[in-house]
Symmetry: D3
Subunit: 290 residues, 6 copies
């Protein structure tokens, strides 16, 4: 009898032959409102069997690629320093083995670990960031390693060039002031995405791509700690992802699904489809570029 695996649909090759590696970071200890994103990656694996491996949008299939799902890192709860180190370590291993890491959160803070690894590997990167929230606070109730500060912390890293933010529609006034001076913030939707992508393509800048799923409208994605009205539709997000994948994406993450907050399961189903399309577009475009 075979061992029962628990992998995202169509992502069941071995590590050695994999071109891409999915790993989950079930961490939500700094979440300030409603926790539960720790259950995000596991729920996405289980519920992925409600979608297909094939995308009629891209006419590509997960079985066309070699993807390994390594499961969740076993992270301690409480202080974020140790979990961030463990995430960085895993992402580094994957990058050093010449594979592309796809991180599933957990809260958005997990991105910092993967970005550190990407900077270490590539020297200089830009970040494309889809989110309802600016995540640019200097601290949150005195805590600097908080989900509400993650893009501020990323921006302070040597090696991170420009952060291109889209769909932002929430933050305190100081975050928007900070963004004016320090990031390429695009409020509410995807205006200017095409221009940003074109510039990054021309320069072949390595791009870290971080998707906070709450960029989606609350109607599409209520299953998250801090749903924020006025977001984009699934189709808008899909088109934006396909657009971004024209860049030289070197790592990506998808985070902030809190599956128990949406008992209909629709949020998890949406997250699964976003991950499938992200994998297919990034890996497919990479293959075509070769």
């Amino acid at each position: 009898m075979e061992i029962s695996r628990n992998a995202f649909i169509g992502c069941d090759c071995g590590y050695e032959e994999a071109e891409a590696v999915i790993f989950g970071a079930p961490f939500d200890s700094t979440t300030s409102f409603r926790p539960g994103t720790r259950f995000g990656p596991m729920a996405m694996r289980t519920e992925s069997f409600g979608i297909e491996t094939y995308s009629p949008y891209q006419d590509r299939d997960l079985s066309d690629f070699m993807i390994f799902d390594s499961g969740d890192i076993e992270l301690p709860f409480g202080s974020p320093e140790k979990p961030l180190e463990m995430i960085e370590c895993t992402a580094t291993e994957i990058l050093d083995d010449g594979k592309m890491p796809f991180l599933i959160g957990g809260e958005h803070l997990v991105t910092l670990g993967a970005v550190r690894a990407a900077v270490k590997k590539f020297g200089k990167i830009d970040i494309i960031h889809f989110d309802a929230h600016a995540d640019l606070r200097d601290d949150y109730l005195g805590v600097r390693l908080s989900h509400a500060c993650v893009m501020r912390r990323c921006n302070e890293l040597d090696g991170v060039g420009k952060i291109h933010q889209f769909c932002i529609r929430s933050g305190d006034r100081s975050e928007f002031v900070y963004a004016d001076k320090n990031t390429d913030m695009n409020k509410f939707g995807f205006d200017n995405l095409a221009e940003a992508v074109n510039e990054l393509k021309e320069k072949n800048t390595p791009v870290y791509f971080s998707i906070d799923l709450d960029c989606l409208d609350t109607s599409v994605f209520p299953g998250t700690g801090t749903p924020e009205a006025g977001g984009v539709s699934f189709n808008e997000l899909l088109n934006a992802i396909i657009r971004v994948s024209e860049c030289n994406v070197i790592a990506a993450d998808i985070n902030e699904l809190a599956p128990m907050l949406d008992p209909t399961g629709a949020s998890t189903a949406v997250a699964c489809k976003v991950l499938r399309e992200l994998l297919l577009s990034v890996l497919g475009n990479k293959k075509e570029r070769i």
Copy 2:
């Protein structure tokens, strides 16, 4: 004291005088992911009292028509053969009495029973099919009478001409290949619906109209076994239904509501409104054509 009936709002005339008959087929035994559509028709009856009989969209009222709601057929669970026979039998009785059947599922497989009855009655029909899923598999884990195969089975019936599919955004690759050769598949939305309807009107083809409610976006209709992101809005569906009702619709169904999966009740409320608009447009247009 009167007997307490349980009928869809405004559908309480007697069978004899009825021009249309609603019947429920509470079957979901072949559902491969999340079951629960068996509770769909009963929930729609109970919750229909949250909507009105009058439509401001069409300026028509259910009380303008003679509609009988015969309740649910008592179907055995397990093997689908017997339930399909019982559905076919009921639809046949209704058609033979010169009334129009409106079937409420249940899973989509129930359509096969009603289509068999329609073919027997009208000889040659086309099908208009709104759905997120192609439902064109040849078998599902070896089972050929499965919700995932229902349009394939319909297509194999003598007497079924063309199946016009709309909103399709999920399936495995083989289904899309099959569709290219065998059906009139229109992906994602209602592009080309006007043309298809015009052609059917010109030829006065008898049309069976099957609505899988998961054609709607997951935000509008999360209460279904396999919600699929990227669907149409309620207003888009409403307009499409009104458009289809210009054809010679001879029978229709609406299916895949799993009411317990959406604890807000919004999915059931949407389903009730879709059924009201379907009844009003199909019966209203029929009357006007006379």
Copy 3:
């Protein structure tokens, strides 16, 4: 140690210095379908800490204004006469103190209490009414003080000029007939809102602004007693509110959130954001007009 207050975020100044006063009317005894709006105002206070005080849409912050949240009136359940008196009394006190009242329901009937107070204070007012339902019945099962009759009762008040209704998509036939003769009804969305606002601005008519949150689509706002498909999006509502705030708004309400009906919490989050934007636009425009 300080007393623990329970106020909507950013609305924690004292009554004396306040320019605006929020008060809740937790009443839902005439609700005919699914009750629960009594919990609306309390849920909005608790959950308001999931949003920010700052609006990137308007570049205004609740902390720029002096707003007092006086909590919920303690209303008896059952007969509506006494609660309506108590609501009228509170609104009158606020208006007489030169402050602007913002009422949170509760079911829509609570509006009648506040409108009575506004008429007493201003003599002659118009009402702008956003709602899925016409609320123009003469009685509901023999009851004339019912949520389904509230705009009919308002219309009968001396001092109420024209009621401008938007987003209406449900009612029985008689309500639409009544509207044709008696109100400025605009079905389905916000067509003609700009014209109505311009006319009211020109005449500087005092405007009572009543928002039944079920004007929103069921996908955005399932957490209400009678969700009605085909509504407007959050962004459409937001723009309409900003438009209305160009008028001489002298009081406003927001009602029909039933928080327990949406276990995802998204409906409550939406309601909080609507209230923030309503406060900022009405109070901000008022300040600018001075």
Copy 4:
């Protein structure tokens, strides 16, 4: 085709031949905490198909008796006077036709209507009352026709002898003081029930039997507006019902199920089984006494 009825399982004979009549009173307008009992009787009918008609406890079957379920009275919402009149009127009709009424609430206030009818019919009755709450307030926020006052109102009726209360574990101090002087209150459980029943049997006193299902422990019956810890188990309630049915029970009710408050459905399942056992024991013992 037959009309689809909606009756409690096994209660589908005609009115004429019936020895007992079930009727629902979907009223909860005076509920002061969490409403929703209006959906109780309808949910019990729908979910009754999850239980059997046969009781292994009593070796009796609902099909052994002639029971008619007349559905729900269509009650207006808001003021309680009119609904109470309508309930009294229905109960009177049933009693005058020589049948036994079984009322399903709704909130506990509905009992008052049925008790008025019973007093009118029998002149002098006692009441056996199972409840977590004393329901002996003189008024609730100034309202005297409130669920919290129902047993006080019953006690004030000429013709009501003694009210025997069991399982009481909540109330304000004044209610317990009132009980000391005015009712036969037995706190927490069923101590002294046997004695009370024996005395009533000896005198053959006509007994109205009112069961507020929140007498059950919150673990067994969370689906009610005001769950109160420390209640009795299902088996204890079952034995108590069988005991009470040795009296000359002339009418009964069962109330306070709020089905939507328990998404597991277990509370509704419990309520159905309680009603079955109540019907079988009261009707069975009555038959045996003849």
Copy 5:
């Protein structure tokens, strides 16, 4: 990187060295009321990390034993014949390899597959059956392979000696009549369990042990399709399991958890603890007997 496994806590040895094998049968197609037990085994694996491997009741630890969790069999939905064959086949393989099978359902019908395998292997067995429902119908709406008939079908197998039923408190009259003549039925609880076990021990009869978790009270285990009030407590079930494990248990199953029906997760947590105690008592006693 290691492959991510999905096994019940503490059950992660390899197949070869295993003394016991857990396998899931996610089948619920014949469920007549509320489906969803198909998700039972997967939910138990995921949620098992909320309990410990150690039992303070037995002072034993899952790590003291060699247990392999082989995951779920991939079963087709619809007709039960094929799934039953596949279950029988898996159980046979395990038994033939000298290991003890522990089957997790799914609906109770899955037991029939495992019992067939046990009879094939051991020739003559008795069954100990804990359940709220008799499961002794000859057919259910004409279907003979139904969860409601499973013990009748087992009883008809050559090789099945006596079925000892406990906790039975639901069924139609005919089932209780059948039981009188054909099974050792013990109603309501565990009276006579000690005697039955002693007799089986004396004769060293091979015993198949089937636990339908709805033997538990609805308060303890609401997460099942047909919760039935009046069941046993967890501690009563625990003691009964320890008692049964004194027999020569040769295979066992645990079934009817429908995890989505209990959003608190308590039912799944209970099921996990029952499985742990079952494994520890059966395997521990077996080891001690050697």
Copy 6:
């Protein structure tokens, strides 16, 4: 107009005159399974209006005492050090002002902050600890300030004498070994509680009383992160609390309610009643001892 307060029912006196002070610690960052206890204290305040201030068990009323509810401390999320300091600081202030602190968690780790304050104040204390889980791990995934270690950390404090543990039914083997040597552990229930209390009374030992509500059975209290079957009933807990209050209790806490995990609200209602009875018994007995 008055400011709207948010206090536990009957706990609304001022700080100065208070004899007891309630304060909430909404912290759950080290929770390893299902988070959400951060919402516990706020939910208890809101839902406390579903219970009465009067206890028929003790014939005492919250209005007989002077209790101030100071609301929740605003704690940062993530690392536990700072929150523990803030809790200790608040408890110290209360104790130094001669009042008795009642802490509402949050996860169980919050107890450590209050125990530190108690030790500082009283020099030498014992702890009475009701819990399903031993909480005696030395670390959890390397973290020593974890809810799973809280009683181990307390035991290491100078000044903490004996920890008397009751209801313990979960832990790994090492915790039970540690308990054998280091604590007075009583498994499963309240056996030996009377003896322990008598001894503490005789010596007049200052007692810190910590109640993890998951000592209750999962049926009574499913709304907690790690429900553990086989716990005590509400009445057993109530009697145990009354018993413990005979000691010289100098501070107490109640924790681990995660209100969103039990959508029925019953768990929150139970927690409210436990807190009422705890306040009444501890404060009542204290008064009587004087």
